[in-house]
Symmetry: C2
């Protein structure tokens, strides 16, 4: 295992300590391992929190700050955070207007967020939750009943965070998150596996001439194991099921998000984006906004995912709104 | 070779086409493969350009936009751009106030930028050049006489770009770039090699229990091949030569930049940042600004580099100034 770590068990704590130092102007890190917006709680503002296993950075801790998340709960690598973290985060960001939990659809995350929400409600905090389940690849998987929550989560956190920043109330923020979920679809693929530090060996085996189409963000299996193919063919294999699922139609305006799984050079992500743009052109779908880079990763896995979000004026305006987090920053 | 590409020979052209589509609000891509700020040339503004082999993305194309570069010249992967590109870029951004070439110290880049500068001067364009040579690892290497230009280049492009945006004249912009060069030092390391698409095999061999300390950004050898070590020890091995070289002293304020080589998860970069902050604390050096992420990469190489820039009020103010590029964006 070749990693820039010390003891495998300390990697998350040490990374959080590094984050806290690097972004002390934006965030603070508190026990039990929660990343909190520096100025939280903000009175009268709906708090927006998310969380999940570590190893997907910058998601979620890198999205804490003005105009996006109020807090994030990072679990151990590829392991759900515990309810104590979600409860602490909920308490830390509650400014009296309630708290929205944005939950990726993994069984552990769902259970623990539900428990934390109950505990928070027992303390009088108004909590709502929206589950993101945007992965069209598989219906059920090793970690999930139903569709997995993947790249759409990044877009939901940005858009919902913008609305909360503007002062929208909890019901409005929740409805907006559901609207994003209704309009976003994703699919990913892997060229290589990745190694969880505590495991010390790759999560799965894959041949030198193979790739996995429809993979999850923990290396869980996808739709099929195939022979390696050119980037254009891979892009088609991801874009077509996404486009057909919603479906996205001629005349639609979308946010096109090409995400790297961590170990794929940006150069290659742009090769994929180029083909994606061509496919969308061919279908009469207009790219109104785009995002290209490593935003929801699987450690050092090589591969990519594509996410399309159908935009309307409201979603576009909220996407464009100012954001100031370690990983997404504009307008400020 | 596992890559998201089509024909290896087309990877740079296709990636540039993708960039042009993804960032049409900021840049345009013109023949012969130059990335140009969308609104260039700007009358009366000093143009700032850079360039070098592809495979280091987001450097340099990702740094084209308001407050940073006016154009970038990407060569083939790990191969210097040709003088025609640098000349075309110089012409494209010349607004009558002259053009600064920021050149990383590699023999091919130096030669070709010099030739392009001569050709541009023959056309009446005022051209100056500053060579960035911030790598303390080795004196000479496979690609370079003298120190290599590495992470300091990112910081120089940001700071110099801000001054040019504010209307500084060519002599001022050049002097500022030299000031950055005088105050910046870097060193990098690799856990793995990387594969140039056209070569199809790793640039160098490295054992499963080995790492290369002092590596260049093309996989060229560094100071020494060592057994794998914990992140804290690696961070010490990079930070100590940097700190001792300038030297950075107690009371200094620095910009601390932990850069990923492409294949290392952000989680690990924060582990390195944490130790770096501890080392700087121990020496009485204050981190006034920071940057953590993949900014000058070597394709999918796993590893990192550390760059420290000694700040004064002028450099700090220009670092903070608005920037709007695909890879660095704030204040707008």
């Amino acid at each position: 295992m070749k990693k820039l770590i010390n003891l495998p068990d300390n990697v998350v704590d040490e990374a959080l300590a590094g984050m806290a130092r690097a972004h002390a102007d934006l965030i603070r890190v508190e026990s039990p391992n929660i990343v909190v917006r520096k100025d939280a709680p903000r009175q009268g503002k709906v708090g927006v929190i998310s969380g999940g296993g570590s190893g997907h950075e910058p998601m979620h801790g890198g999205f804490v700050g003005r105009g996006m998340l109020d807090a994030a709960c990072p679990g151990a690598v590829f392991t759900s955070p515990v309810p104590d973290q979600m409860l602490a985060a909920t308490q830390a960001v509650d400014g009296g207007a309630g708290v929205l939990h944005i939950v990726k659809n993994y069984t552990g995350d769902i259970m623990n967020f539900e428990l934390a929400a109950e505990l928070a409600r027992a303390e009088g905090i108004d909590v709502e939750a929206v589950v993101i389940a945007d992965d069209v690849a598989v219906k059920d998987s090793l970690y999930t009943a139903g569709r997995r929550g993947v790249g759409g989560t990044v877009l939901a956190e940005k858009i919902v965070g913008a609305a909360a920043e503007e002062g929208a109330d909890l019901a409005t923020v929740k409805a907006l998150c559901e609207k994003v979920q209704d309009n976003v679809r994703s699919m990913g693929m892997a060229l290589t596996s990745c190694t969880v530090p505590a495991a010390g060996k790759p999560t799965f085996d894959i041949g030198d001439d193979e790739m996995e189409i429809g993979i999850g963000i923990h290396g869980e299996p996808g739709r099929e194991r195939r022979k390696l193919a050119p980037a254009d063919e891979i892009t088609e294999a991801l874009a077509t099921p996404i486009l057909d699922d919603l479906p996205f139609q001629s005349g639609d305006r979308v946010l096109a998000f090409v995400n790297g799984m961590g170990g794929t050079p940006l150069l290659e992500l742009y090769v994929v984006y180029r083909k994606l743009a061509e496919i969308l052109d061919g279908r009469g779908v207009t790219i109104a906004r785009s995002l290209v880079g490593n935003y929801i990763t699987s450690l050092e896995m090589a591969g990519c995912s594509i996410t399309l979000l159908k935009l309307d004026d409201e979603l576009t305006r909220l996407w464009d709104a100012p954001v100031n987090t370690p990983a997404l920053r504009w307008g400020v």
